[in-house]
């Protein structure tokens, strides 16, 4: 899940009596599983909530380049290097589609970029954790992309058309990334003692941060209820987290790795695994800017933007000159 703790604008789900006629028509449209398109009428709060959600997702894709980029120059084989480059390129491409989807809601890319750089617009907490050994690149694909897919597959059916279409494209690539990540984990888990140690170390560090990606329980949240009524959120955080754990634990067992949770146990009655919640205090610390890498990640983005200003200015100046020359020639 690349969007966490999205507060819906407004005060919660309205009853049909509280809605204006336009709102009633809109809700009926959404309830009938019809898509909302950019030129359709939509409640201001729907628009604002979607901008937050898509914006946060876009920022996460862009910031996600950094922890993975951290290993491109050190990838152990040419093939692994090429796969990682292609993956990071895909992530930046996802950022681009999502920016385009957000732009259809009336916010510009520059505004979104400024919000990211000022720290106003968040990105997923997961990218504030470091990638310390090569198996982390496997674990990021397996766990982080795995958790993202868990959330994004249902979002292919989201009510907002441009977001839904972006998700369909993104999900295809993410599943590919997840398989590539698992493939790295297989090599590591079947490799030398040192490689096995790297794989276990990566799982130890990334397991709970991956569970945090779904956000804290939101079954009582009015924001979540509103987002679900609008179909910009399809499942609760707990449902998705459970599904992720149920899917991932057997994969870890297959690798011969130990999930770092002593309480983890199959619950026959529920038909699900019981598992420990992550440390939510740590999660809120990360959101506040106190994760291991928050400062470095944000500084890297700010510096890239600042140092790139002359390039962007020059590109614009050149484009203006070319356009002027074209007009003069006509």
């Amino acid at each position: 899940m690349y969007a966490q703790m999205i507060k819906s604008a407004g005060t919660g789900v309205k009853s049909p009596e509280e809605m204006t006629p336009e709102e009633r028509r809109f809700q009926a449209h959404v309830d009938a599983n019809e898509k909302v398109e950019p030129k359709d009428w939509m409640p201001d709060d729907y628009r604002a909530t979607l901008i937050r959600q898509i914006g946060q997702h876009a920022q996460s894709e862009i910031d996600g380049q950094l922890p993975e980029g951290n290993w491109i120059t050190r990838a152990p084989t040419l093939e692994r290097k090429a796969i990682l480059l292609a993956k990071v390129q895909d992530e930046a491409g996802h950022g681009l589609y999502l920016y385009c989807a957000a732009e259809t809601l009336g916010i510009s890319r520059d505004e979104l970029t400024e919000d990211l750089l000022s720290g106003k617009m968040k990105y997923s907490s997961i990218f504030n954790y470091p990638t310390l050994n090569w198996a982390d690149i496997g674990a990021v694909g397996w766990l982080v992309d795995g958790a993202a897919i868990m959330n994004q597959v249902p979002l292919q059916r989201t009510s907002y058309g441009p977001y839904s279409r972006a998700m369909i494209r993104i999900c295809k690539e993410e599943s590919f990334h997840q398989r590539q990540g698992y493939d790295i984990m297989m090599k590591m888990a079947q490799g030398t003692e040192a490689q096995k140690r790297m794989a276990q170390d990566a799982l130890n560090r990334l397991w709970f941060p991956s569970l945090m990606m779904f956000g804290p329980s939101d079954k009582e949240s009015v924001h979540s209820a509103q987002s679900m009524a609008w179909k910009i959120k399809i499942n609760t955080n707990d449902e998705l987290r459970q599904k992720f754990v149920d899917q991932t634990v057997p994969q870890a067992e297959y690798l011969g790795l130990t999930v770092p949770d002593e309480t983890l146990k199959w619950n026959e009655e529920r038909g699900h695994y019981d598992f420990a919640e992550p440390d939510w205090k740590e999660f809120f610390d990360v959101l506040k800017g106190n994760g291991p890498c928050n400062t470095d990640r944000l500084t890297a983005r700010q510096e890239a933007w600042k140092e790139g200003k002359w390039v962007r200015d020059a590109m614009m100046a050149h484009a203006r000159k070319k356009a002027a020359a074209k007009v003069a020639a006509e």
């Binding site: 152990p76 040419l78 692994r80 480059l85 890239a304 390039v311």
Partner: protein, 258 residues
């Protein structure tokens, strides 16, 4: 070694290492930009360029290993040779500098690369011609993009113009090495595998001259050339640091499969 007369396969091996090491080292440099470009489209374009270059490296060094016949594959050549066995031109090794210098270096390399690969399409060695065919399609795009960027940044603002002129001044002395010839090249010419590098200079100067003129940049007059990369005699200090990073896992955990 490259100064001596060589047997066919030894010269072919050297020649292939030159091609593969250029793309490997430049691909590494370009990949260092990941996540730090001035705008998202450039992040994507830089990653894409690096990806193409690494893909070409797999082909060139893969063939080099085959020709050598000692059981080394592309990875063994990339990750387990030391500086003195690398055959990359110095231009590919120099640090990225700002975005302008990175794109100027890319352009100066792409212009040579596209002309050289164009000649390799007619190589007497079909394996070489096949790789050149695949690579030249990618490189045509690299050249289009780097040339467009050089023009935009050269022409753009006063600041960008100055930065691009400074980048050109820094990089120009590294251009000449791409047109140096030695016994390896002579053997390749003789066998009809590859052209004499010096024979490409006029076409290169014409191409670069056109783009620099559009970019309102002045082509430096000097012809001084730093040399020593393509024959391994004297690389830059930078290459050792690149290899320290690139080869670390393979060196620290020998024999592991990744």
């Amino acid at each position: 070694m490259s100064g001596q007369v060589q047997s066919g396969d030894a010269a072919l091996f050297e020649f292939l290492c030159r091609l593969g090491d250029n793309t490997l080292v430049l691909g590494h440099r370009v990949s260092e930009w990941c996540g730090h470009a001035p705008v998202l489209e450039e992040d994507i374009a830089l990653a894409n360029t690096a990806l193409d270059l690494i893909g070409q490296t797999q082909l060139w060094l893969g063939l080099a290993g085959e020709v050598e016949g000692k059981g080394r594959d592309a990875d063994a050549l990339a990750f387990l040779r030391d500086v003195w066995d690398f055959r990359s031109v110095l231009l590919t090794e120099v640090p990225n500098g700002d975005f302008g210098r990175t794109l100027m270096r890319q352009f100066l390399f792409d212009a040579w690369h596209s002309i050289y690969l164009g000649r390799l399409l007619k190589s007497s060695d079909k394996r070489v011609a096949d790789i050149a065919e695949k690579a030249s399609k990618e490189v045509a795009y690299h050249l289009e993009r780097s040339a467009d960027t050089v023009v935009a940044l050269g022409d753009g603002t006063e600041e960008s113009h100055q930065r691009m002129q400074a980048a050109l001044a820094y990089l120009w002395p590294y251009v000449g090495e791409m047109f140096e010839g030695d016994a390896v090249d002579a053997a390749m010419v003789e066998a009809g595998v590859a052209p004499d590098p010096a024979s490409l200079r006029a076409e290169y100067d014409a191409l670069v001259g056109r783009v620099l003129a559009d970019a309102t940049l002045e082509m430096p007059e000097g012809r001084f050339a730093h040399k020593g990369g393509r024959d391994g005699r004297m690389h830059t200090e930078h290459l050792g640091h690149i290899l320290t990073q690139m080869q670390w896992l393979q060196r620290a955990y020998p024999g592991a499969s990744w």
